[in-house]
Amino acid sequence: MTDLLSKFDPLINEREALLSTGVRDPYALVMEEVKSPTLAICNGRETILLGTYNYMGMTFDDDVLAAGHDALDNFGAGTTGSRVLNGTYQGHKECEEALKEFYDMDHAMVFSTGYQANLGVISTLAGKDDYVILDIDSHASIYDGCAMGNAQIVAFRHNDVEALEKRLKRLPQEAGKLVVLEGVYSMLGDVAPLKEMVAICKKHGAMVLVDEAHSMGFIGENGRGVCEEQGVIDDVDFIIGTFSKSVGTVGGFCVSNHPKFEIMRLVCRPYVFTASLPPAVVATSAASIRKLMHSGNKRAHLWENSKRLHQGLRDMGYTLGTPEAQSGIIAVIVEDMMQGALLWQELLKNGLYVNLARPPATPHGVTLLRCSLCAEHSSEQVGEILKIFEKSGKDIGVI
């Protein structure tokens, strides 16, 4: 018998080698208590959270929690059904209304996760003879959506406008083309040149989908993301987003002005063949989205935090993923998995949680510590974060 799990032996061996040195498993952290969007108890110690993508700190907002309690009491714990059968409650429609208002768009479709939104929309739009043109550093959910739809995949160098145009020019004019871009790329926290890219897509007759998972609520005048910030939101055909970052809950969505968009509800398999979000989740999401429409002050504070952390880490001598703060994500690049695991462990010991990310999730084979800031991080907390990074980095010998 062939052991089907033996193909994972290299990873199993690598992990065993790492853990045998005595470092803590970076992928087995348990938060024993969560005190606020920025504080939790881990291993019995109060820990500042700097790796949650909880950019706007909505997870403990009073109005959001009240909406959730109310929905739980009045609509129950779960829907036990697909959106197209028994799984659409009043709350799901209200959540989609909130999204339509937030983005000022005609249609909104809520999925059970952001991953499923990309999987479903991309696989449904781009079939066997269609082309998906994507940035090589795209999120796993985008690649999986391409694979599920059997589309022809054409990748171009990360954020390279010229490489995108060259490829669009070479594709058959009559073929269906979907260009998939992200507003903020989640590993390095860098922003895409959407203004130039979207214009090129339109020039070559391609439809455009932008994943704004890491920019919603934070970037753009109304928090609609990088395509709003760069003035191209009206030329984008589909925006994909998630509730599990700035919104502070879980779920995914697609918004669009396409007149035929509603048919997607019947033909998109990851939408049809899965249970809908529980009532409390759509209620908390809707309440949070509505509050995010009027969060200009929080956005300003988040930018302050991000810029200050970036400058501080740079001054200490850390290597960062971007030359300046471009989003709520700051990536600290380390030499390898061993150094990353050691620094990660030391930060945690000193009361700071960040994400340790490694290939294949990261681009160019780099290992990095991903920090994501929150609008609820106080100035004092950012000061404390910098102190912990300085002490830990020196102790491990990274700086």
């Binding site: 090589i136 022809q152 054409v154 060259k166 490829r167 070479r170 160019h364 084979g365």
Partner: protein
């Protein structure tokens, strides 16, 4: 020189700057195994090939191409289309 041979010669020329292991460019030499290329090198090399021949090698096609010989055949076929 036939078209196929010309394509092969050009591909060998384009491989050269990436061939840091100085592997012998036999038809059956693999990019991952014999040339020891990582995914980043593959991406840069594919872009160079695409630009030279003004073609697109989709990721679906790339998944089927393991050796230099297979690449030459694939490029020759794309040029004919």
């Amino acid at each position: 020189m036939s078209n196929h041979d010309a394509t092969k010669a050009k591909i060998h020329e384009l491989i050269a700057p990436f061939n840091v292991k100085d592997a012998e460019l036999k038809d059956e030499a693999t990019f991952m195994g014999d040339l020891e290329w990582d995914s980043l090198t593959v991406m840069d090399f594919v872009a160079a090939i695409e630009d030279e021949f003004d073609i697109i090698i989709t990721m679906n096609m790339q998944a089927e191409i393991e050796t230099i010989g297979q690449l030459v055949d694939a490029v020759a076929k794309l040029q004919d289309q």
